[in-house]
Subunit: 404 residues, 4 copies
């Protein structure tokens, strides 16, 4: 079974790192660290093999994945030289499968960066049709059993009134009227309406709009999002339950993130930053009962390149009114943290699709800062959901096999 992975934002850091990594694993030059699906419980599922994944995608900046990978190596040391050398030809082949996308309603910063985007004059219907045509052509050309679309494009501004798009009909009307639907939702619409599973790794509206969710239900296509949980927010979801369970009342949680990659550059734009701050801030509010001072800062610091550094300062009150504190510094390669999750998610929604499980995929909550349709933000409890999902499927299989 061959599975196609269509990456929106295919020349970005996350996409490039995901493709380099998948091909480096396929070529046996690196291990599978960082991939959740390569260890228990998920390794018990019958997932598409990493080395069988076929990549393609959309982008709005010219260039090539090979160049992007070289640049990542030069600036960050990730990927390493050996991995890069081993996958160069594979990347060149992928380059041929990257199509021109749309930068519609992505904000001025992205529009400025986009040197290769769908014609400004095109109607939204023309754009979504073209996107769907690209998906179909990929499936056909590569002779794929299944295509999943993963959005790893730049952060967009939050749409002005997202609630207005609360039905499929409202979405259809917005497409007809050239309403300012963001690009992410156009990609999601095109995918889900044609039966392609969709994952939103970004903080963008995409498939979070109620009308798009209704569409996915109606078409019974699996989808999930939003905003991959990779660093500071991952830490928060691991640590905040400790404070809650121990009855240590958090009084303030200050998070200061500095990063120097393309994502950081786009997030310099206050408009594009808003969605990110939302999903980052929400996790703590979802875990801690009582109100507290909750601030997240994201600052662009070019010297860090892709090595995102988060400094968090937590003050909490315990026994006898005693104020105490925790501070942590997390320093990780942003793309090396995100990329394996992109592969995990592609594999897991492909699996769900094969099992005929359409709609939201709550068992994937642990992957996201703002998991659609899930209120549980505690990391361990989210992992329990994944474990139970796997158990359900492997028990079913065992039963089936046992019965045979």
């Amino acid at each position: 079974m061959t599975t196609g992975v269509w990456l929106v934002g295919a020349r970005g850091n996350v996409a490039t790192t995901a493709m380099v990594g998948a091909r480096a694993i396929a070529n046996g030059v690196t291990g599978t660290e960082g991939m959740v699906t390569e260890r228990p419980p998920c390794d018990a599922l019958d997932l598409p093999f990493v080395d069988s994944l076929v990549f393609g995608g959309h982008d709005v900046q010219s260039g090539s994945v090979v160049e992007q990978a070289e640049a990542l190596h030069e600036r960050n040391g990730v990927p390493g030289r050996a991995a890069l050398d081993a996958v160069r030809d594979d990347l060149a082949a992928i380059d041929d499968r990257i199509e021109v996308g749309t930068a519609r309603n992505c904000g001025t910063t992205v529009e400025r960066l986009a040197d290769e985007a769908a014609d400004e004059a095109d109607s939204l219907r023309e754009i979504t049709n073209q996107i769907r045509t690209d998906y179909d052509a990929f499936a056909e050309a590569e002779d794929l059993d299944r295509v999943v679309v993963v959005n790893v494009a730049s952060s967009e501004p939050v749409p002005h009134d997202p609630t207005q798009y609360d039905t499929v009909d409202a979405i259809e009307a917005a497409l007809d009227d050239d309403d300012p639907l963001p690009a992410s939702s156009l990609y999601a619409y095109a995918a889900l309406s044609a039966g392609y599973p969709f994952v939103n790794f970004t903080p963008n509206a995409a498939n979070a709009l109620p009308g798009i969710r209704e569409l996915a239900e109606r078409e019974n296509v699996p989808h999930m999002g939003r905003d991959g949980k990779t660093g500071e927010t991952l830490m928060k979801s691991a640590l905040a339950p400790m404070f809650a369970d121990r009855n240590l009342r958090v009084e303030s949680w200050e998070g200061h993130n500095i990063l120097g990659n393309g994502d950081g550059e786009v997030l310099e734009d206050e408009e594009n930053k808003a969605g990110k701050l939302d999903s980052k801030g929400g996790v703590l509010d979802g875990i801690l009962d009582e109100p507290f001072h909750n601030r997240v800062r994201i600052d662009y610091t070019p010297a860090l390149a892709d090595w995102k550094t988060a400094w968090d300062d937590v003050r909490f009150r315990g026994f006898l009114d005693t104020q105490m504190k925790l501070q942590f510094t997390w320093e990780g390669s942003d793309s090396a943290l995100a990329a394996p999750l992109v592969l995990d998610l592609a594999r897991l929604v492909a699996y769900a699709d094969r099992e005929g499980e359409g709609g939201l995929q709550p068992h994937l909550a642990s992957f996201f800062k703002a998991p659609l349709g899930v209120d549980e933000h505690r990391l361990a409890a989210q992992f329990d959901m994944l474990t139970e999902y796997v158990a359900r499927h492997t028990d079913a299989r065992a039963d089936a096999e046992g019965g045979a």
Copy 2:
């Protein structure tokens, strides 16, 4: 129903802070932050009220709890002035219920500090008899329905060959022969043989010896331990599962603890430190699959007084072999972290005793660095065990009530 809480090490920081806090809560001058039993799920259990707990205990240093509380306030600011003023009389009353304990086989450092300990010439039988007499006298004098013993005495050296005490008979023989059983085990023996529940909040051998465990089973008395999980190790048990579940391979985890209180002073002695390092180090090994560099340092730094500071440096390897890192600094009042758990544990073992649930109490695993009889070290999973225990008991009650 009145419950007596007998604290071994009653004039120590943890004991004093627990008693100040309990009485400050009873007097309405502080809240219940830090107490696990005062929030869901445990608040649904029918536990002895905090303000009904009656305190007594053993110690081997002279002095008074009032003086100790004053000293804690002066050096650390914890307890605060208001709490201290509100409980002064209550503490004075407790002072009358503190008896002379034994420092047998506690190492030279503790023996040096002990200015008021059982006679060196006494046999172990004489000592355990006296201890039991003290427990009984407390129960009678205060007209208590139940007495639970909580060990919060200084760290002891690890006994030379703990496996030799693997049956009740071996313990009895050791008592007869004046074998070098550590003081903590004498307190545990005296308690469990007379039907008093026992909690070991220290890294000491106490009730961890197989023979003592057999005794508790035989007598059907609840007991649990060991080594309260309050700071760095608590953090480890919250964070390590994140690395494991995300397939981020930990390569080294360096923990450096500095503290300046009495516990720190005793731990300066390499002999006494060994047990502590064992229980601190074990948590990570119990969570992370693969071998890694695991070191814990504990250093005595008087300037910090009771404000223990831990600095941890974690290096882990993720996608594409990328090494990343997490560093954290935890700064907490050691006693304010530990004291509420002492109250929690006293209430929960009293409850188990009333329910007739003898032997080890695995649902209390989350409270301990090295939970007896439990291999699960992941904090959230340990809390799940507690939640399930509570659910079992509240459902049972609901059934019973429903049935009535």
Copy 3:
């Protein structure tokens, strides 16, 4: 010789802590840690004694210094109970010497806080006359040999075009025309025109306006500023020379400050923050040769109260193009850091005044983030200037004495 210290912002944290400290030292209940003038080299100068200083001041908020000191103790633990008890009566006496000041052009945040300020309708001339009358009355009532004015009032917005006030005449014209001169400059004008030495511990314009500086020269009155260097910026001025001298090229220096006191509250207002960010940022630019990424954030986090925490992240490039990093966390009581310097500065400008040394006092550069008239920002070099000043004066004295 009795010296009066007139504090503008007399009920603020810094002023209150300075007065509590001075009186606690006078009463022998605390040491002189934190005071530069109490150790070499300055202790060799014949400075007014700390216990002889007489305090008074202006403020625009009602309340009392005693209450403020109590509040500081409750929220921060500083001052401690013993010091506070020892000085309560002294503070009450000072309260009688605090007059109503002006909040003119201090921005809306300060105006909102000011419940007791000079009449809005008064002309600038009326205001400056009243201020001077207050200074004179203090000198007379307390029979003082000398009065020095130290501005420790809240941060103000930066005046729109400070260069327009570049001569004494321009200042006089502005006063006549009710131009928007900030309150700090009114206090400075009133002081310097009447021969009272003036120190600006705030980031405010005050005596930094060229016209005010000309006035001080003309009247031969010592003055200095601006913005006391107490925490993160002090660290920067100690550390940046190390990078420069070792040819380690700083690429980015991110500073994130969180604080929860009144100063933090005022700095929440972007308008008032501007001046502070200027003086904080300037130090590094003054030490490091090459351009680099230099950002300072100041965030208000109430849970910290007066305990300002700075987190700095420095990336620098060394041999073979290697990027390395330094991160530090500084946590100090903001007022306990600033207050002793207020006493130091009062003593040192009083001394300069007695020596007839009018105009700017470059030897005091080490005390300020943005030392007026001094380009040297390296802490050690600034201390050398102080050492040389002291040497000059003590040698002169030795010569004089030797000659006698």
Copy 4:
């Protein structure tokens, strides 16, 4: 003028990185960051050019500098690929100039690593003669105007009674009697007795023995040491004066170093660690007046490779007895920090030698943790000494030129 730089420990990390860097600079593929002599004030001196330095040395481990440089690149990313490729041939040429040294009295750890050391049976006289022969042969073969010897070999145990070697005669006698003089002193003796300037970049005894110092005086050969000041200790010497000058009384300074390179491995041996801890600890004692808790830990953590990480925790007491704190984390490539200083020192002692300035070189104090013959540990004051030295020499030159 060609200058030879003879590195004792020539295949170690520091030596290799110094040689790679010098040749990379010569080949124009990297800048001179990290070199003190390449910026003011030293760049005004007429120093030997970096690209004219000729390298040779001793070691006791087999292998080649090229292999060592490759290994450094693989493990640490430093040197980078481009630099390494550019200097490969140069390194191969240097390999031919590396001779077998002696591991005498270097402790069992070094002896175990040493697979290529002078015969155990040789007398000390035979060994020192051979060393001197190697120095001479290098000078002759490469037609060098001058040879300077820089010791960058592994840390040795501290000699049992260093004071016994307090005269040249005592040294000579020790050589005759095969007393346990450490290898470092043999290299120093051989160099200084033959007129070759000597720099001790290690914590080893070497030229610190009084008898060796007397020898250098007598022969009028410049020499200096000991223990290069590159990371945590550099920070201490920059920061401690700030506390002193501000009258902030340090109560404890805890330093925890973790590193994973060869130096770390040797320092695992308590014997070899002693000298390092001495020189690291001494800096603070030399700056801070009053006694305080001063501890330095060095732990071997292989995962860090050459990226040494120091965590320091400083508690200090300021105004009103307020305890405050500073914590820092320094993470640097150990070799990239040390290597440029090796080049600086070689150039500066070569210069001194040309100027006829024998004996200790106090103006080089800033380079060392324990500068021989210098009590000044404050970094800025040490840099002032360097600045004055340069001024003296450039003024002299200007005078000379002016006079011509």
